[in-house]
Assembly symmetry: C2
Homo-oligomer: 260 residues x 2
């Protein structure tokens, strides 16, 4: 394998930095892991667990502080996974979230995690946008990236004419004519929940797209932050799937966790 | 005034680092601002605006890269406000949010911002907890700290026997016997929405407190993050206040923003 360098958007691999996301990948998605690295300072029990899991999956494991130092981001890092990037396609018949030009990798990762939590497994990113494979995005998603299909599009029009062509669109914006608090969602077609970026939101052209929605709040803040707005919308749109009264189908959780 | 040092929890002042939160304070809460600093690199139009606003309020303004370098956190900082810490008390008859041992200043700031957005103006922190006056908390709250009464308590029992004694309590936890998605809130007493910390949530003793609630989600994630869980709960509990059908009282927003 080639010499590992600090992550760059153009490289064909990325890193899980830290033992938590690396163990998540080892347990759930070993097929994407090319190699695992650990430091001479890593605790013996962690190394033993890595040896066991990597050995079982046939994944190369090595101790190299020199390489970890080279590939880490700001924080020190005692364990890292080397992850092959993979192409992905959205499912055309499922519900979608669409992020138009998201800039912040932390927000992107948090939204991916919340999508996975509320059972929305398809995310469209309209370019330019934050890098979904950046180690910071992976860290914020807590490994949930691997439960969600993420696809990039060069424009919203391209999304709308391909993956999103049969969807009821709900752009979330200041000027939305109905509030989420009052919205009665029509059953039928799959939905696209569409959000603008952190600084400027969606432009007025989205007033012509489907049913614009605002999340109403008081005027003591300018806006909710992006991941909060997306999380609240996801909660509201999936409410009936997570009510005890609803049919508990195959996709329904057996184990419910709410640790705050 | 004494020589300014890097922020410490025990000092009686703190800092707004960056021009955005400093302008927020200058415009909305000048009474707490002791002094404003800017760098020789600050753009002329920003300095002009600072001169105008500080001059109008009688707030000392000075250019000192040396002081900015000493007080800044990780990021470079071209403008800073010096903010007097102030004592605060919760309103006993209002709705409350209670955070038990929150650790992360970013989460704390985001929750304060979301509380302000949904009109909950009282927050109890159970010690040990993240420092509400730390510049990182202030930054994450985007200035919303100054719309919310924040009070610290040495234990949940102390909160419950004082500020929270007349409240209907809703601890959010894994083992909550009802889901937020199905909850019918009883009208009447003010509510306390209670959340555990980032790593361990609330312990089982909270099962004996009021009506434990879980936010149901699928098992692809272990939990929602703390600020997301609190934001969703705030949205749900304030839903009727932000519906168009409801009476639009004095506390109701005139201006609704949803920039994503």
């Amino acid at each position: 394998m080639e010499k590992l360098k600090r992550y760059a958007k153009k490289s064909d691999y990325t890193y899980t930095l830290g033992s938590f996301p690396t163990f998540e990948l080892l347990e759930h998605y070993p097929q994407y892991l090319k190699q695992v690295l650990y430091s001479a300072q890593t605790k013996e029990e962690i190394v033993d667990k890595l040896r066991f899991l990597c050995g079982r999956q046939g994944i190369p494991l090595s101790c190299s502080d020199r390489v970890l130092e080279r590939i880490r981001e700001k924080e020190a890092c005692l364990v890292a996974g080397v992850l092959q990037k993979y192409p992905d396609r959205m499912e055309a018949e499922a519900d979608h979230v669409v992020l138009v030009h998201p800039k912040d990798m932390g927000n992107l990762g948090t939204i991916i995690r919340t999508c996975a939590g509320f059972g929305i497994h398809n995310l469209a990113l309209i370019e330019p946008c934050a890098d979904v494979f950046h180690p910071k995005t992976l860290r914020a998603s807590m490994g949930a990236l691997f439960c969600v299909h993420v696809e990039c599009f060069s424009s919203f029009a391209e999304y709308q004419s391909t993956a999103g062509r049969s969807h009821d669109c709900y752009p979330f914006m200041l000027a939305g004519s109905i509030s989420l608090q009052e919205l009665k969602r029509e059953e039928g077609a799959p939905v696209s929940l569409i959000f603008g970026n952190e600084s400027s939101g969606l432009d007025d052209s989205f007033l012509q797209v489907g049913q614009p929605v605002c999340i109403r709040h008081g005027d003591e803040i300018d806006s909710l932050n992006l991941s909060m707005a997306a999380g609240i919308a996801l909660y509201e749109f999936t409410r009936t799937s997570f009510s005890r009264q609803s049919d508990r189908g195959a996709g329904q959780p057996d184990r419910i966790r709410q640790d705050g």
